[in-house]
Symmetry: C2
Subunit: 123 residues, 2 copies
């Protein structure tokens, strides 16, 4: 996330796949470790940085910062900073970000089905 070498084969491959295939492009937008958690809590509405931090178990400030920044660059969330002290910053899903929600709901259904099958056969 921090450093991406735009000369690496890995980078080339990723770029090509994204260009060729919008599914891959889409999945790459949501494949950070904490991005879906953030989406989950922002479903309800705006939240401040610290509120998110407190709601998401085990996330560090650094990861929250990084993931929010990526989501902002990717237009999934909007950031509003208020010139107060202490600082207040609110995050909210953008319209296109909200457009993901129904798809995520379906993924959730599929995931549950898959999980129940795996548990059933893992005995």
């Amino acid at each position: 996330m921090s450093k991406i070498k735009d000369t690496s084969v890995n980078f080339e491959n990723k770029k090509n796949l994204e260009e060729t295939c919008a599914e891959i492009y889409a999945v790459n937008l949501i494949s950070g470790q904490w991005i879906l958690s953030i989406c989950y809590y922002l479903k309800q509405g705006k939240l401040r940085f610290t509120e998110l931090k407190n709601k998401i178990p085990n996330i560090t400030e650094r990861m929250l910062t990084l993931q929010l920044k990526k989501m902002e660059e990717d237009k999934l969330v909007s950031r509003t900073a208020y010139a107060e002290v202490p600082l207040r910053v609110e995050y909210e899903l953008t319209p296109i970000g909200k457009g993901l929600l129904p798809i995520l709901a379906q993924l959730e259904q599929w995931g549950k089905l898959h999980k129940s099958m795996s548990e059933g056969s893992a005995t």
Copy 2:
């Protein structure tokens, strides 16, 4: 993919998130670099290892092997080996793997929309 330390904080976090949230569980199943490409080509039906290799640009045999193995463990594809010489192995999407396809189609739509918006504003 190769090595996963089951003592790391990273591993703990991932596991907790997957247990809590089926969306995250689901996305983790499809978040390998080449997994969606493989899905794409297996939509049509069975394919042999070499056929996949030739269809997917730039993939190496190692990555194809790894991703197929993961997909097999995750019950997304089934593997059938024929006792011939030279060896013949066929891969096919499982029923639950096929269940992903409509969701991926929606992701594709969303991705295209997102991409068109980004291109429009990036000028």
